[in-house]
């Protein structure tokens, strides 16, 4: 049973009356239920476009995008979509707890205090419940953002370069954290990233993309068993795969 399907999808962005850019062309992609897929590529290769199409934030120019056979808008309406962006996009006037109540309020449900407390603990922010985003570090804000994406137990988790704005050390640490969090939830996940190590460490399958028009040039089934830990990143095979994919990213 497949969860996400893109069939012959293309996406054209109009710049002005004469010019337009083909961001995606004839894209076919199937993502199984419970699979963690990383879309890896240089900026401007259309990887974020795929994510936006799956999230229903954009419509394809041709082709169809379905999640469980339904258009993404229906998943939106049922609040089964968890999404986190590179910029944390938290409400600056609310506390951590208040931001985690937001998905419940949007869905018109009473917020589940216990569940929220559990999520805060899961992302390692216990003790920061009443801090506001401006009082947190970049890494902590991204944790809140990921916790918020998980609030309503979504069927699908979309991560758009969630650690793109972080420094290398924090990013590596956040990768370990995300791997731990995902291990507990095992939700179908699409991660958009331009960092090779991040893609290989976190995903079950890495799709390497090239730009203009965006298409998949390589597919890698990641051989490492879960749960993965720091040791995974130190293996010879890990480094080989990183070098290998880095090479295929070069134009």
């Amino acid at each position: 049973m497949s969860t996400i399907e893109l069939k012959d999808v293309s996406k054209e962005f109009r710049i002005n009356r004469e010019r337009s850019v083909l961001a995606l062309s004839a894209m076919d992609l199937t993502i199984r239920e419970g699979e963690f897929v990383a879309l890896l590529g240089p900026s401007g290769c259309g990887k974020s476009t795929i994510l936006h199409l799956v999230a229903g934030l954009d419509e394809p120019s041709t082709g169809t995008v379905t999640v469980d056979g339904l258009p993404p808008r229906q998943l939106q309406a049922k609040q089964q979509l968890g999404i986190a962006f590179q910029e944390h996009a938290l409400l600056p006037w609310r506390t951590v707890e208040g931001n985690l109540e937001l998905p419940f309020q949007i869905a018109g449900r009473t917020s589940d205090r216990e569940h929220i407390a559990g999520l805060i603990e899961l992302v390692g922010l216990k003790g920061f419940e009443s801090a506001r985003p401006s009082q947190l570090s970049g890494g902590m804000r991204q944790r809140v953002s990921i916790a918020r994406a998980l609030c309503l137990n979504p069927k699908l988790l979309l991560l758009d370069e969630p650690f793109g704005a972080l420094d290398a050390v924090t990013r590596r640490f956040m990768n370990l954290e995300l791997q731990r969090i995902w291990q507990e939830k095992q939700i179908t996940t699409i991660l958009v990233t331009h960092t090779v190590e991040e893609a290989i460490f976190l995903a079950d399958r890495v799709l390497v993309m090239s730009g203009r028009p965006g298409r998949i040039i390589r597919e890698l089934q990641v051989p490492f068993p879960r749960p993965r830990a720091v040791e995974t990143m130190r293996q010879e095979l890990f480094h080989q795969l990183v070098d290998d994919l880095t090479l295929s990213l070069e134009p």
């Binding site: 939106q76 309406a77 962006f85 910029e87 996009a89 409400l91 006037w93 949007i106 869905a107």
Partner: protein, 255 residues
């Protein structure tokens, strides 16, 4: 450390502002005492003495209550209309260009031309409030329109992906994001409402600070006239300051 610096900067700026203000008052006092402005420019101390005379204070207070009520009603009315119009333009984008033009036209009508029309249509009592409401409407319409569009784009995408309805998005995102711009508009609207109310009274309202200014001018009661003008200025500046404080508190909260 950063807080300390910012506070120091604020204190320093406030000090400069106070110094400038005091210099201005001192210049007024000296010019008045020296008779540099003729009989129509009394010294500041002569103007302030007006406030110590019981019946004059009572007169000014009664007049101020009337004018502030008119300005207040105009402020609320104009602000409410401005917000509703801005929301309508948001909800029905087809109407937006039309509403924009309507707001500009309403704002372009000179109070001087409109006053007599209002006197014969809504009467002398209601004219000050309406003349206050018109410029407020325009200011708040512009402020609310830009405020409602100021929500962070990423947050907008998050709301959309989460399946938010127009109403939930408005309630939890757009309305709150609009607050700083709206308060900025309100800050300016307070002073505009006071001007509108005073000018509105000149067309023949029974009482009010505008009437006091007009009558004292005609009867050559110069210190009392200046005293009334100072009251108008004081109320305007106080309103401006209070809303300004509210605005910076909100902005701090939203940073």
């Amino acid at each position: 450390m950063r807080y300390a610096e910012r506070n120091n900067g604020g204190v320093q700026r406030a000090l400069y502002q106070a110094c400038g203000f005091l210099l201005l008052l001192a210049a007024w006092q000296i010019a008045g005492k020296a008779g540099m402005g003729g009989k129509t420019l009394p010294a500041l101390s002569d103007v302030l003495r007006v406030y110590t005379i019981g019946w004059r204070r009572a007169l000014l207070l009664r007049a101020a209550v009337t004018t502030v009520s008119s300005a207040g009603i105009g402020l609320l009315l104009g602000a409410a209309l401005g917000c509703v119009t801005a929301l309508t333009a948001q909800l029905l984008p087809v109407l937006e260009p039309g509403l924009d033009r309507l707001a500009v036209v309403v704002n372009a009508l000179p109070a001087i031309a409109l006053g007599p029309v209002l006197i014969i249509t809504v009467g002398r009592e209601a004219t000050p409030a309406l003349l206050a409401a018109i410029p407020v409407f325009f200011l708040i319409y512009v402020a609310a329109t830009s405020g409602l569009q100021s929500a962070d784009q990423r947050l907008g995408q998050f709301f959309k992906a989460s399946g938010a309805s127009w109403w939930t998005r408005f309630l939890y995102l757009d309305a709150i994001s609009a607050l700083p711009a709206l308060l900025n508009g309100m800050k300016l609207a307070v002073t505009t409402a006071m001007i509108g109310a005073v000018v509105g009274e000149w067309f023949g309202a029974p009482t009010g600070l505008g009437i006091v200014i007009l009558n004292t001018m005609q009867n050559f009661q110069i210190p009392l006239m200046w005293a009334a003008v100072l009251v108008v200025a004081g109320i305007s500046l106080t309103g401006y300051g209070v809303i300004g404080l509210l605005q910076s508190a909100v902005e701090r909260r939203m940073a």
